[in-house]
């Protein structure tokens, strides 16, 4: 009796035969997750896939694959964190921290916009707010673009991040002095963070990491 017939008759299920693996939902799902992993972590997905071949029954296989996908997520996150802390070949961990700060900045701005949107668009004159709202949306996305650029080790993003931090620190300073506000802990922390980020992005090791690899050009007859 073949595997499919046995399954239909409700008999005890056996591990999946190799021919059926290509179409098995658990295999397809776990293989899909494997594709998202960095190359040096794929052996763990392969290990899970090889065990999947000996698990009998679709439901236990799906459970194994689903839980396994979460496990692969943990392995991937841990590898990312390790890279960020230790610094891999190119990326210094400070750059990752600055990138995370900028991504967080965007998240906060988008959160504020989302919070304000119902108030703004609930008014009769909501159409007047569309353009400023879109402009604010654009501004809110800028730090995220910088974060992405930093993650990709783009030197323009590094310069833009320095400019952005400088503008932010100066803005804070101007706001406090012009409005005659007290020097509270929050604006001071923000300014210290901005200055620290500028200093980090100007570190010689960081600048070097952002430098594109040298191209060696040769003449044809050389």
């Amino acid at each position: 009796m073949n595997w499919h017939a046995k399954r239909l008759r409700g008999g005890a299920e056996e591990p999946l035969p190799p021919a059926r693996r290509k179409l098995d939902l658990a295999f397809v799902f776990l293989r899909g997750c494997r594709a998202w992993l960095p190359a040096h972590k794929r052996n763990w997905a392969d290990a899970m896939l090889s065990e999947l071949a000996v698990i009998a029954g679709l439901r236990p296989r799906l459970r194994w694959a689903w839980s396994g996908s979460l496990g692969l997520g943990k392995i991937w996150a841990r590898s990312l964190l390790n890279d960020a802390i230790r610094g891999d070949q190119d990326r210094r961990w400070v750059v990752t921290m600055v990138a995370l700060y900028h991504a967080g900045f965007t998240a906060v701005l988008l959160g504020a916009l989302a919070w304000q949107a119902p108030v703004i668009f609930g008014r009769p004159s909501w159409s007047e707010a569309v353009l400023p709202f879109l402009c604010m949306l654009f501004v809110a996305m800028l730090p995220a673009v910088i974060a992405l650029g930093l993650w990709l080790m783009d030197d323009a993003a590094r310069l833009l991040a320095i400019f952005f931090s400088l503008a932010h620190a100066l803005g804070d300073y101007a706001w406090i002095t012009a409005q005659h506000r007290a020097w509270g802990p929050r604006p001071v922390t923000r300014m210290v963070l901005d200055l620290a980020m500028i200093a980090a992005l100007l570190l010689p090791s960081v600048k070097k990491a952002f430098r594109p690899p040298q191209l060696h050009l040769r003449l044809r007859d050389e």
């Binding site: 190799p18 090889s50 065990e51 071949a53 000996v54 496990g71 392995i75």
Partner: protein, 107 residues
């Protein structure tokens, strides 16, 4: 990662260490370890990955005798891993030890 780093020994890690110490020289399959410890694949493999990173665990691939079946990953504690595991289990809190005793009885 260098050997000797501090791994957080959760209840799950302790149960895995106990299972691996059960037959310390024996190579074990991931699915068997999962059944023995009751750990889901999503918990088991991140622990195995961390143990391997710390050089506490030895791994190898075993070619399947059956054609078309992928090679399986095998695990066992390294020599340093064994003594570390014994140490961790000895200093485990009472609740964790009760859990481990239950696992041993099951197997």
């Amino acid at each position: 990662m260098t050997m000797g780093f501090r791994l957080r020994t959760s209840k799950q890690t302790l149960s895995l260490l106990a299972a691996l110490l059960h037959g310390p020289a024996q190579w074990r399959y991931g699915y068997d370890l999962s059944r023995e410890t009751g750990l889901k694949s999503g918990t088991l493999y991140p622990i195995l990955a961390r143990l391997e990173e710390g050089k506490w665990l030895e791994t190898r691939w075993e070619e399947s005798p059956e054609a078309g079946r992928p090679p399986r990953h095998l695990y066992r504690l390294s020599r340093a891993g064994r003594s570390w595991a014994k140490q961790e289990l000895a200093s485990a809190p009472a609740t964790a030890l009760r859990l481990l005793t239950a696992i041993r009885k099951m197997t």
